[in-house]
Amino acid sequence: MVSCLGQVYGNASSIHHFGQVAKQRLETARRQTAALIGCDAREIVFLSGGTEADNLSLFGIVRRSTTHSHIITTAIEHPAVLNACAQLEREGAAVTYVPVGSHGLVGPEDIRRALRPETVLVSVMHANNELGTVQPIAEIAAITREAGVYLHSDGVQALGKIPVAVETLGVDLYSMSGHKIYGPKGVGALYVRRGTRLDAIQFGGHHERDRRPGTENVPGAAAFGRAAESAGAHLEDDTQRIAGLRDRLESALLARLPHSGVNGGRAARTPNTTNMYFDHLEGEALVIALDLRGFAVSTGAACSSGAVEPSHVLTAIGLSSDRARASIRFSLGRDTTGEQVDALVEAVAASVAHLRRLSPVAA
């Protein structure tokens, strides 16, 4: 990325030599990204991130369709999908939000039941960002294919954490984000299966095969490509090691702290995420207490001010508002060590004990 910023100053759309160097970098990145998910490089569109990838998928499909189109999505999607759907509803589309059970998993048959003749798109995230639960995308794809409906999946939280093969998954559109695979923020990619009828939602030049106008972010794309390559190389080792650390964290906390538990099903999950509740306290206070001790964890969602908002995901899996507020999410990464996990367990145990001493409702 740095070499791109310093040396590759050509515009990838220009004919001259400098432009061609930039174009080469861009296409290398496209091939690297395609290799990670097992698609053709021509099916990759670079853009600004997961949110833009989701918006392009939803608006691009719906605007291509005739009037009164219907979309099926789930109650636990990222705001990039949910708020895009809300806008589509204002523009006249119909949206069905399929509920999920306490495990945080979508039932493929619920998707089938929601289908209507005017359904044009099903959008189900691959891995949930708060729970880590991995959705049965391949089973859903069998249903959408049979129905002749496009399937989009927001893969931002899955890419680099679990194997992603778009052919096996059977998706038509797949959103990816740079900073979730150790790449930079502000760059993302969308897989668009060849033949997918997708309208552009921004207008300008002919970049990215008319899918996404605007001078390409060559340094960002190059870094995304490198990150994708690295993610592919690390995937197997990372997955096992990080899942081991996650399980160590969970079992230690569950053993040490009464009135605690894991939110959502534990079977089908990304290796790096666990969402836990510690009853009789405010998760917001726990997040701050842990940050002051040097650990960055998070609660459900943050609003624009940075304050914690109630998590729609935890509500959707049936948690009471008290328990949803008493929940926090731990995310582990490639650089997390066993010592760090042990230190985190101590910090959480101390903070939870402190907060429960203050709580009027603690046992």
Binding site: E284, A285, D291, L292, C303, S305, H354, L355, L358
Partner: protein, 368 residues
Amino acid sequence: MSEAPIAVAMSGGVDSSTVAALLARNGHAVIGLTMQLWNQRRLPDLAVEGAAGRCCSLDDVYDARHVAEQIGIPYYVVNFERQFEEHVITPFVSEYLAGRTPIPCTLCNNFIKFEQFLEMADAVGADKIATGHYARITHDDVTGRYQLRKSVDEGKDQTYFLFGLTQVQLARSLFPLGGMHKAEVRGLAREMQLAVAEKGESFEICFVPNGDYAAFMSAYLREKGIAETATHGEIVTADGRTLGEHAGVHHFTVGQRKGLGIATGEPLYVISTDAESQRVTVGGNDQLLRAGLTARRVNWVSIAGLTMPTRAAVKIRNRHRPAEATLYPAAGLSGVEVRFDEPQRAVTPGQAAVFYDGDLVLGGGWIE
């Protein structure tokens, strides 16, 4: 770091920013916290672009965060929206609909800015809290009580809104600006090159844009799906003449002159409102005068209580010059009868009556 940190309530304004910066400069461990109290997006009908003094606006959070970064302290926004709605908005709305004129700032101070904030301070391991209020806290070694005193800057004094503070709250609170004038505070902010040094003041009730209570009330009730019942009635004089009609008593407050929609020879003022009959009584200025009042739910601050008639200066509005009076213990432990030396204009139910002895806040209660 042996000393427990101090939690500073940062609003993004010049006062609380200066408090945080001063404490940090003096070597204290400081944690900056901004309380998110109200989501302006909830009532989009009321959205007013660029209105000053808006509660919890994003601009204020950015400012507070910027100052925290300048002075190098940890900073967090904490979500108190649920508590604010329960303890401030709901009582505010029901008081208003009952024809009284509530002061949400006092409720907010009592339940949010001190009670809830102290809980958050406990949670993050802070012993003390500090705010940008203009007031002073002293300790009476004889009685063992913490005392609340007026700010040295009389024009900025905020003790009228702080009479509900408990001894425990006072023991743990710091008001570093109470001994300063506003100009000094701004000077310090400039000297420390704080990003908000030139920022303007906010005056209005924070969650009510442009001071339009009735519009807020309508939008809030609409959001809650509550129908505004009996929203019109008669405007009458004390001797029973009907002068006109109005769109609900909550549009009126005692002493109000404008907006009556009646043209008469002499100026008319609202003398009283009655929610049940939806009747607004108007009259001349002299009819606004009252010889006394009853205060309920009195909180004693600098003294333990009232056992005998006691002289005091009583303030019945924030911008009221305290009136000399005698306080009499009233039936029920938390009541006080106030007899003014001179009748006072526009004694307004729902507002606070705060009792002073010089700069000392004896206590205060709610006007019946």
